[in-house]
């Protein structure tokens, strides 16, 4: 049976070039980057080169880029690294953040920081009027994601940063679903902190980066040998950093090509959904990450649709890839926040296209999708 992978928002396979770079550096660069001798220096240079490359691609200074173990750690640094400096002050985030920010924010709440959650409109865009109101409470931090992982809506981070800075708050953006997928320029966005994860843009797992604007103070959340200028202890994952920089470079180069293809395929998929009937596309119609589609089908259980697609050789996800565990029922916090009709909300799947997908796979998916939706509706209607 055919296997079509349409779950790139969960994780992506590294580009072949990236894999090659990774494996080569496993073999050649085994010095520890913090060490003074030539082997260590070779590793150090490679690490700094990777840092420079990443910095260039997001318009940051190399010393503003810190290598971490991934998006979750970066998000945790942003919240827990700043909170101790502003005891008792509130923070603002949104209702549709990824768990890495949401769960951290809840933990901050228990440490005495009131947390305000910004609501979103039906398209998943955060409410700027609510932001303005909450900013009156003198929050120390505003953390709003650059692009949502379930519905793909791109947030007005630039406006958010401007409003927050006027009130003296720090601004963090979880850009895990944005970096490598849409152009990201930290200067233009005006954020103080940004999180990214390599495995979302065809880099390896277990590595990510954290942008920290020069002059912004953050305390380390991991104690140890003082690597990454004291912010992030632990032996530097040099091969991972090299591979991540290369992956980001390639992803950026491919923007035009992938965006064109994703648009065409999106139109094709939506037209098939129209044929099936009883569906809605979630998220903002224009301000969205290309290739990420959140589709809700009326009177269908999303998990059943995902499983049935899987059994027919197509991999998509329902809600967020990491979350659909055990007895947890219902649909995700993101879909809930959109305030859409329950009949639809329950039947939501996420389809995320990737660079290695081809036309035949999209054609195949469209046919299978129709078959599966109709099959499940048949169960419901007793046919």
């Amino acid at each position: 049976m055919r296997e079509v992978y349409l779950d790139h928002a969960a994780t992506t396979p590294p580009y072949p070039e990236v894999l090659k770079a990774l494996q080569e550096s496993y073999a050649t660069i085994y010095g520890n980057a913090s060490s003074l001798h030539a082997t260590g220096q070779k590793a150090r240079r490679a690490l700094e080169k990777a840092r420079e490359d990443i910095a260039k691609l997001i318009d940051a200074e190399p010393e503003e880029v810190y290598i971490t173990s991934g998006g979750t750690e970066s998000d945790n640094i942003a919240l827990f690294g700043t909170e101790a400096l502003y005891p008792g002050q509130p923070m603002i985030t949104s209702l549709i953040e990824h768990e890495a920010v949401l769960e951290s924010a809840k933990a901050l709440e228990s440490k005495g920081h009131p947390v305000r959650f910004l609501p979103v409109d039906t398209n998943g865009v955060v409410d700027l009027n609510a932001l303005k109101a909450y900013l009156e409470e003198k929050p120390f931090l505003v953390s709003v994601m650059a692009a949502n992982n379930e519905i793909g809506t791109v947030q007005p981070v630039k406006e958010i940063a401007k409003l927050a800075h006027e009130r003296g708050a720090l601004v963090h953006t979880d850009a895990v679903q944005a970096v490598g997928k849409i152009p990201i320029n930290v200067r233009e966005l005006g954020v103080d902190m940004l999180s990214a994860s390599a495995h979302k843009f065809y880099g390896p797992k277990g590595i990510g980066f954290f942008y920290l604007r020069k002059g912004v103070k953050v305390l380390p959340i991991v104690q140890g040998g003082g690597h990454e200028r004291g912010l992030r202890s632990g032996t530097e994952n040099v091969p991972g950093a090299i591979a991540m920089a290369l992956a980001l470079k390639i992803s950026t180069r491919l923007f035009t090509r992938t965006h064109y293809r994703y648009e065409r395929w999106t139109a094709q998929i939506l037209s098939k959904c129209g044929e099936i009937g009883g569906f809605r596309l979630n998220g903002h119609p224009q301000q969205r990450v290309p290739g990420l589609l959140s589709l809700s089908f009326k009177r269908i259980n999303g998990e059943a649709l995902m499983e049935l697609l899987d059994m027919n050789g197509v991999a998509v996800s329902t809600a967020s890839a990491c979350q659909s565990h055990s007895a947890k029922r219902g649909y995700s916090h993101v879909i809930q926040s959109l305030g859409i009709d329950e009949e639809y909300a329950n039947g939501t799947i996420r389809v995320s296209l990737g660079v290695e997908n081809v036309q035949e796979e999209v054609d195949f998916f469209c046919e299978i999708l129709k078959k599966c939706v109709l099959q499940l509706r048949g169960y419901r209607n007793g046919q």
Partner: protein, 395 residues
């Protein structure tokens, strides 16, 4: 190149690289319940868990994967201490433990947790009596490093750990085995260890991955927050290639341990004998290795793959750089070579004065070395030391 700095990091063995290979592009999926790809990913992690538990002789237990040894030690210590009322908590570690332990306890000490930093004797050993009396009713956690990362001293776990549980059965024990596992077997059915931490890149596995093996998570509270699939302590996407690499590296380390011990022990003996006979005014830091005569004996005093000497009248960074010119890689405890200009705290703790600590070299052989390389290393080292001594103010 003669690479003698395996305690810092090791190359990834080819067997490990090829074991990891399919998980980058072919089976790159993340674990997820019920879907084919997701359950396969879960099974891969389960297999790795099994390998880890088997290696430590555990039938049941839990494993969590971290971004490395530092993160593993932080997850354990912070996991126990972060949410407790500081005045009601006490913890113990040794002054010579790895920075990821010492600095983390230092952080909690500042937050009001009382922490005992156990002193060590001139060879680096913890005093069992001091350990005994350090354990209090409110002692939540004791951490120490099994094999020390600087001087290779092996703490006698069989002797020390029962003392802790005897004094307070509720105290959890955390052992950092980062540089132990190439040479040492740890049988967790015989040792009352609650948390064991280590990392991939010290055992010929990849960087960016480490693990905590534990019987049950009991006291631990999560310290990182995010989406959880496999362990609430390590949220976020699972680094499956890394996990596979770590498990394979550990399996190979266990499989080849006897050979490794024989090999590095010969190299250690040769290096120590040559340096002591050819270079005057040197002092071995850390305990003497157990009798050289019996190569089959399991070492109990000093790890077989660690050599650490102080060279009187000279400074370590200079020696290290001259060796580097000859493509020989070692490490030094000199403050000049450290990023914070502090002299090596392990050497200070075993009573070396600043001058001796500055003039120290750590030589850690591994799989890729042979006798001929050790001879060449000492051969090059000799003129470097005498030359630097000739120009020293202290001669």
């Amino acid at each position: 190149m003669i690479y003698l700095d395996h305690y810092r990091t090791t190359p990834v063995s080819e067997a490990v690289v090829s074991k990891m290979a399919p998980f980058f592009r072919d089976d790159f999926f993340l674990p997820e319940p019920f879907t084919k790809r997701g359950t396969k990913a879960e099974e891969i992690i389960e297999q790795a868990n099994r390998t880890l538990l088997d290696t430590f002789h555990l039938k049941t237990g839990e494993v969590m994967y971290t971004s490395g040894g530092t993160a593993a030690n932080n997850i354990v210590i912070s996991g126990v201490l972060r949410d407790v009322e500081p005045s009601q908590a006490h913890a113990v570690c040794a002054v010579i433990d790895h920075p990821s332990i010492v600095h983390t306890y230092e952080y909690y000490r500042k937050k009001g947790v009382s922490v005992t930093f156990l002193k060590v004797d001139d060879d680096g050993w913890i005093d069992p009596e001091e350990l005994r009396w350090s354990i209090q009713p409110k002692t939540l956690l004791v951490s120490f490093t099994h094999v020390n990362h600087t001087i290779g001293v092996i703490q006698p776990l069989e002797q020390l750990l029962p003392i802790i549980k005897e004094r307070n059965p509720n105290t959890r024990i955390h052992i950092d085995a980062a540089v132990s596992l190439n040479a040492m077997d740890l049988d967790l059915t015989k040792l009352p260890i609650d948390f064991l931490t280590f990392s991939g890149h010290k055992i010929y596995g990849p960087k960016g991955i480490g693990a905590v093996v534990f019987r049950n998570n009991g006291l631990l509270k999560p310290t990182l927050f995010g989406s959880v699939t496999t362990s609430p302590f390590t949220p976020g996407a699972e680094n499956i290639p890394g996990i596979v690499g770590l498990a394979e590296a550990l399996r190979l380390a266990a499989e080849k341990r006897a050979t490794y011990r024989l090999k590095t022990r010969r190299l250690q003996e040769r290096a120590i004998n040559l340096i002591e006979s050819d270079i005057p005014d040197v002092v071995l830091n850390g305990p003497k290795p157990t009798s050289f005569g019996n190569l089959d004996a399991i070492p109990t005093q000093r790890a077989v793959d660690n050599i650490n000497f102080s060279f009187r009248y000279v400074e370590g960074e200079s020696i290290m750089l001259f060796l580097d010119f000859e493509d020989i890689v070692v490490a030094t405890g000199s403050a000049c070579a450290s990023s914070d200009l502090k002299v090596n705290y392990v050497l200070s703790a075993i009573g070396r004065d600043h001058e001796m600590a500055h003039g120290s070299l750590r030589i850690t052989p591994g799989w890729d070395n042979d006798e001929e390389q050790i001879d060449r290393f000492v051969d090059r080292l000799k003129p470097i030391v005498s030359r630097l001594r000739a120009q020293s103010t202290l001669r």
